[in-house]
Symmetry: C2
Subunit: 320 residues, 2 copies
């Protein structure tokens, strides 16, 4: 197999032994793998891979075909079209995945869309529902709404019956966000004039939350998932007390195998059927070949895109 | 009746009509009333009384004897020794209290101890258990541990089987805090060298939380109740994500009649029996006569005390 690796900050394709599945694992022949902020952070040395994941191989989500199955897996998984979140190593021709982490892909979605689904939609669902306890009819503020998790969050909140306010740095993509289900679209400068927010899906960080903390409804929940616009923010504790609001956050990556299985089950039960019906989409900002990962990372790191950046993986040797 | 009032920042005793109880209310002839930070904030104009409470009369907790009962109250309450949290007006000879907010006092406690119990112990219980979901065996950090809510929080956490670390500005009262159940006592300067905290009962605010946020266990809960040492604190959102911790807070004062009844029921069921058995105490920093409220407020506002400041109320005319 071939895998993308990070060596002293440089991306390099290396050939390695294709992994053997453990008793309850599968190996997936990867067809597409999303690029995420975590990959860029890992490259910069800020976000080491969790225990059990390859320490030097980026890539946290993939779609592909099951090519090998562990001896204690009882479902007939060989050959199935699947997606998954992994601790690392997704940007490769093959990747080891715990069988209980698999999502089963709708027939009609392309590999590229599928490769951009697992991390974005699982993260947004976990943040909005499992952490944010989003209820039907509540008002949700999604900051960084044009990014991969942002476009997922807008659609999920809309699908679950919430009123969605999408926050972006510029108004370039406001029409596209409304097409995905946003009821209102504002730029970062306009957030302070909003009112009555129940849940904040915080994908930007300090630059947004510093303002958004002032427009919370009683019992609001702020769920921090991204900090691209600053990780240190001054919080007014009196305001927290007055609104009885909650600030929390989490990453999926650090969670246990069992917790990730739980998230996969929730996403499989609630989002995959909506994806199958065409109620959810994976907007693709741009697709690159795995061999062009350097360009993909550079593109990902620049502002102004809409949706997911995905690497296409074809065959055994992406260098060939 | 006589009541303490605040007029343009000055405390003044005024004679007013004794209130008539509404159908489900009682009137309590007050024997003692605690002084709380909220009273001093209200005097400074920062903390207006909630709807339904007298706008100019301080006092959020009391103990006394039921002297009149509303027509739809079916329990035999007349003459009962009770305590309660109220929205205001406790620092008076008489005070209106919703009957479902009453706590029934153990026989052996003095009026002064009883007058200092309701707000401190209800606030600490609500913060630790209802907001902080404190579980047996967890490690709790109580900042501002020598104050009224602090000494309550140390005892409640200890009684519920938690490991209690009491944080104080100086080491003056460390022995007294250990006698109340603290397993460990540290000064504010030493907090940064602690590790592994599950729940923070935050009674100081920024000066403490700025440091305490770095010593949280996974899934820690920070519950902010007091901000005497600063209300604006820089929070590291990456740390929130990494620890999957939660920052929240609340006051009791702003809650609905139904919510306050719920808190009273919880405290009545869980803490009053322990108080009756002598497992909980109300340490009294100092007791003043109601007519000396000015001195009591001044004493309350100065650092260095241990436990509650309580006003003793005797008879119809505290000026007499």
């Amino acid at each position: 197999m071939w895998t993308l690796t990070i060596k002293e900050g440089a991306l390099e394709m290396l050939e390695r032994d294709t992994p053997q599945p453990g008793p309850l694992d599968v190996v997936v022949a990867v067809r597409a793998a999303g690029v995420n902020a975590a990959d860029l952070m890992q490259r910069l040395g800020f976000y080491p891979a969790p225990a059990g994941a390859p320490p030097d191989a980026p890539g946290m989500e993939l779609a592909g075909v099951v090519s090998a199955v562990g001896e204690r897996v009882i479902e007939p998984l060989l050959g199935r079209r699947v997606g998954a979140i992994v601790g690392g190593g997704a940007q490769a021709t093959h990747c080891l995945v715990p069988s209980e982490h698999l999502l089963f892909l709708p027939e009609q979605v392309s590999w590229e869309e599928a490769g951009g689904f697992p991390e974005a939609f699982s993260t947004a669902y976990d943040a909005l529902v499992s952490q944010g306890h989003l209820a039907t009819g509540e008002r949700v503020l999604v900051s960084g709404a044009t990014g991969g998790v942002g476009v997922a969050g807008v659609q999920i909140a809309h699908a679950l019956g919430a009123e969605v306010i999408a926050v972006t740095r510029t108004d370039e993509y406001h029409a596209a966000l409304r097409a995905l289900g946003a009821d209102e679209t504002v730029t970062l400068d306009e957030v302070g004039s909003l009112k009555g927010v129940d849940v904040v899906l915080e994908l930007l960080g300090a630059a947004h939350l510093g303002v958004a903390q002032r427009i919370l409804n009683p019992f609001a929940r702020v769920v921090v998932i991204g900090v691209g616009a600053g990780s240190r923010v001054e919080i007014d504790l009196l305001n927290v007390m007055r609104t009885r609001s909650t600030i929390t956050g989490s990453t999926l990556r650090s969670r246990s195998r069992e917790e990730k299985a739980h998230v996969a089950r929730l996403v499989g039960d609630t989002l995959v059927p909506r994806w199958t019906r065409g109620d959810l989409q994976v907007p693709l900002a741009r697709v690159f070949d795995l061999r062009d990962a350097e360009a993909a990372y550079e593109y990902f790191g620049a502002p102004g895109k809409f949706g997911k950046v995905v690497l296409r993986v074809e065959g055994e040797s992406p260098l060939g």
